[in-house]
């Protein structure tokens, strides 16, 4: 009886040990994907002078292909065309719906979004 009780108490610890690395890895992969796409979009925007609707859609397609929903993705960038030497800022925010276990047991809150940001000088010439 005592042993059964002990096992029942320690069961959550066992689940934690099994699942924590998987969730953590998944979270890191999503974060990496968002940051990589932000860098890609920034480099492409430098050639075009801004984030064009085609580029925006290309990145949305890439992010939805790995499991994000389109309405979770926000791409922030100025719509004005920037000419050679002017700066272009690009930010991608994707809603982070997953909460990692350690945050459940602490008063700390997890960041609400995966964020990727890039800034570059435009190459575009009219």
């Amino acid at each position: 009886m005592k042993e059964t009780l002990l096992r029942a108490i320690y069961m959550p610890v066992l689940f934690y040990i099994l699942l924590q690395p998987l969730y953590s890895y998944l979270d890191y992969m999503y974060d990496t994907a968002v940051k990589a796409n932000a860098a890609y979009l920034t480099q492409k925007a430098a050639v075009e002078g801004k984030v064009t609707p085609q580029l925006r859609q290309e990145v949305i397609n890439k992010l939805t292909a790995i499991g994000f929903h389109e309405d979770e993705i926000q791409i922030e960038s100025d719509a004005v065309t920037r000419y050679r030497g002017e700066r272009i800022d690009v930010t991608i925010r994707v809603n982070r719906k997953r909460t990692l276990f350690p945050y459940i047991f602490t008063s700390e809150s997890m960041p609400d979004d995966y964020v990727g940001h890039g800034t570059i000088m435009s190459e575009y010439m009219d």
């Binding site: 610890v13 890895y25 990496t32 860098a39 570059i120």
Partner: protein, 163 residues
């Protein structure tokens, strides 16, 4: 009692493995953002072409403007202050050091040539900016040996306009 001791041992092992995993993931994330920031910064440095030399048919990158643009873009991309130390919200935990910054253009190089230094080995066909930056390895698990800093090199080359 036996069960509790075994379980405690497993929990200690797990904690060490977990922190080690977190550290490696942090290393990879920081390396990726450093690499992308280095690429973008070298790109901006390479844009600082000397217009006077260009009108004479030579592609020359202005060293002072290039260095200034490089540092400015690095600061903006990695949220760093004037001394290249991380500001609150920066993806990095330690400051960035510019290990190497070199301009290869018509004043000092004959293209193409094989460039081999700072972990890079590649043919360079056009005027370029070469840069290497580094930051300290994130440490969640203290180990006996100090781990090597994260170092990322890049070559940003001008390309022929084929449009």
């Amino acid at each position: 009692m036996d069960f509790t001791i075994k379980l405690s041992f497993i929990v200690v092992l797990f904690t060490f493995a977990w922190l080690y995993q977190e550290q490696n993931q942090e290393w990879d994330l920081q390396r990726n953002v450093m690499k992308e920031a280095n690429n973008l910064s070298a790109h901006d440095a390479a844009l600082q072409v000397d217009e006077e030399a260009k009108s004479a048919g030579r592609l020359v990158i202005d060293p002072a403007r290039a260095r200034s643009a490089f540092e400015e873009t690095l600061r903006r991309n990695l949220a760093l202050d004037e001394t290249l130390s991380p500001l609150p919200g920066s993806p990095l935990t330690s400051g960035v050091r510019i290990v190497h910054f070199e301009i290869l253009d018509d004043t000092n190089s004959t293209f193409p040539f094989f460039y081999e230094a700072h972990g890079l080995a590649q043919w360079v066909y056009y005027p370029s900016v070469v840069s290497v930056i580094e930051t300290d390895h994130p440490q969640l698990v203290r180990r006996i040996f100090q781990q090597k800093p994260i170092q990322v090199p890049t070559v940003q080359e001008h390309k022929e306009n084929r449009r």
